[in-house]
Assembly symmetry: C2
Homo-oligomer: 416 residues x 2
């Protein structure tokens, strides 16, 4: 493979995770190892930066700042849910790439957003512009079918499991009051995050909280729910319920989505309050609702070291693949088949990603529909191992902030 000389660019897309910036750090530090990569740029705010030519010079950042990204939540480059839509949007981005001699584009995003990267690569091909595009996955939802797991999931899982273990101890202390604690977690279409709460159980203590876990994979039935809660209150004197925000009834309709169609994305959630009502009207008891919300993806103070390291590794792997001449592929994580957990990276063609949502396998869910069996624990436990050491200053963790030195614009503003 002939060496391709030029500059590289990183873009972030979609909701952040606790470790998405570790992938940025992995890309930047690996890019600097390769002489054929001259400048290392970042696009501000995802596709908005691509269209607006808002690029920053990442090689000019201090090493401190790039190292700090390994434990900094949010999206250091800014993110966006906007998408490139019109053909001229794609044309414009390619113009920006040409103006800055971008020959390597690394796209960090969830499965859906890799589609944008794929289309950019196609357009470059059609114009005989030599460009290598590699995707890096990120999503706390863990719903990508082409990879064993997604960077971001392990940290969210560790945070949810820890939080549920802690609040269950609190609830247990006043158990004689028939308290029902409802924890609403993210996961619009899959139960990976809700299932993660069950990691809070101690080994060989299946009756430990969380007692009931409701997964989007299992149609929700109010009558069964009320029975479940009654059964647990009788046995335990209190009940810890975990519910994924994307619960659906037997007809496939969401059980609780606030607001209407407009802005539905932001309005997602409300399952906790819906279940509160069900308990109050059908079972009785004192209900507490916790809605973890964005804390699930921003709790860097409780990130999984395994996850943070794999996110960094995925970034490095993307650069190595591009240097090796790969393009139009996304990095995946591949688990070794030995008892001892190991994880390597591989690649998958963009064409194989789109439209595949990985659900929790039905055979990992117990017959009661509200608990997981050993196959889930075997899968998820390695992903939450290890703690990330954060620097603390004045009692609080400190996070990296990029100096974000702008790259001079070469093109007139884009009117869209």
């Amino acid at each position: 493979m002939a060496e391709l000389a030029g500059n590289c660019l990183i873009g972030q897309s979609g909701g952040p995770t606790a470790v998405v910036n570790a992938s940025v750090a992995g890309i930047v530090s690996e890019a600097l190892n390769h002489g054929c990569i001259e400048e290392v740029y970042g696009a501000l705010n995802g596709v908005q930066g691509l269209l607006g030519e808002d690029l920053i010079d990442l090689a000019a950042e201090s090493q401190q700042a790039i190292r700090g990204l390994r434990h900094t939540p949010g999206a250091a480059l800014g993110s966006s849910r906007a998408k490139l839509k019109k053909p001229q949007d794609f044309e414009r981005v390619l113009e920006v790439f040409k103006a800055h001699n971008i020959r390597y584009y690394f796209h960090i995003g969830d499965g859906e957003s890799q589609d944008t990267a794929a289309k950019l690569a196609e357009l470059a091909n059609a114009q005989n512009y030599d460009l290598r595009v590699i995707g890096v996955p990120k999503t706390i939802d863990n719903d990508l079918s082409v990879t064993d797991h997604c960077p971001g999931y392990g940290s969210a899982a560790k945070f949810i499991a820890t939080t549920v273990r802690e609040l269950a101890i609190d609830a247990d202390a006043t158990a004689q009051n028939d308290i029902v604690t409802i924890v609403e977690v993210m996961g619009r279409n899959t139960g990976w995050l809700a299932a993660a709460a069950t990691l809070a159980k101690r080994r060989d203590h299946p009756n430990d909280p969380p007692h009931l876990v409701y997964l989007p994979e299992k149609p929700f039935d109010s009558a069964k729910f009320a029975d479940d809660v009654r059964r647990i209150l009788k046995r335990e004197k209190h009940c810890v319920v975990v519910a994924g925000e994307g619960l659906v009834d037997k007809d496939g309709n969401y059980v609780a989505v606030e607001g209407g169609e407009a802005g539905a994305a932001a309005h997602f959630g409300g399952v906790g309050e819906h279940l509160r009502e069900l308990v109050e009207t059908q079972v009785g008891g004192n209900v507490r609702v916790v809605r973890l919300g964005v804390t699930q993806r921003s709790a860097a103070h409780l990130a999984s070291k395994t996850d943070a390291d794999e996110a960094f590794l995925a970034g490095q792997a993307a650069v190595k693949a591009a240097i090796d001449g790969e393009s139009e592929k996304m990095v995946t994580l591949v688990r070794g088949d030995t008892d001892q957990y190991t994880c390597e990276t591989s690649l998958v063609a963009f064409s194989e990603i789109v439209g595949n949502t990985k659900k929790l396998p039905g055979e990992w869910i117990n017959e009661d529909g509200v608990s997981l069996n050993f196959q889930f624990y075997r899968y998820a436990t390695p992903l939450i191992q290890g703690e990330v050491t954060l620097p603390y200053d004045n009692g609080l963790p400190t996070f990296a902030r990029l100096a974000a030195e702008s790259v001079d614009k070469q093109l007139p503003a884009y009117e869209g």
Copy 2:
């Protein structure tokens, strides 16, 4: 003071904090230093254990377990919001004390619950039964006027500030979307917890999130709220709001309390959803609501070392005071008047505690009504210093569980 030989008993009351068990550990370990204290018992589930004669032998616990209490959330002895009401309830408890030769009673609870301890002491006096009763304060609300601060507050403050700092970084990453992030925190009558969120700001960065903090001390005005949010969105492109659950309007009515009178305690909360509606109808924008709920008092994984150490110290101080002949008093924390933070314990008579709710001083709140000045930072910053090192097993923090060996009952069951 003549030495008083006999057994000691510990009771917990009210909602747990992340460090309330550290006070139990302080009492147990100090009690074992004094030969005149023979047995060290705990009452299960607060007043229920006192009435039911459900006592456990704390001296029989492993040293490991007692040490583990220093970082274990919840109430290890169980707690209860029930109160001793009828005169015969108090008579019964004193009978239990006599049956087990309890000469030292340590009551860990909030301000209100110290009243129970006070009445028990009075009854013992009236019956010439030699009993020393010392209270140990605990509450995340920090609303006790007789002490500089309350064990439990520092850890809740550290957790809230860290969480808000993290989720603000997440929100900032997608700032171009006019996102309003609303974080509902506890605090029924005071804004100590809401104010703690402002510790998330970096020094000399008053415009850092959280941008708007609504305190129960300041009457809530919907029109001003909408103006505040608009102003921040214009300046920052996103807005982080923190609201105490106990916000009241100008007439002193709660802005949002779910449910009716019945079970009002459990139903508290809902301010987040109320503010969401206001933003959506009066300002527009994408709203995210986070309700931290009980995680604020159970997040032992992010406890303040200063707070945990002071909670332990308060337990030790209670025992030392009782050995010195003190009774009918509660331990308080006293801050030194030097620049360098120091904290010692003192005592206050039970009679001086009841009915005094410590509000945030008005002169600590800026004129805008939604931010705090240096006086609050000077007060609160020392309380969140230091991290508690937790043992982790298999990716999650592990917590102590008491063996809870029962003490033989001496009395017939209480019919009440």
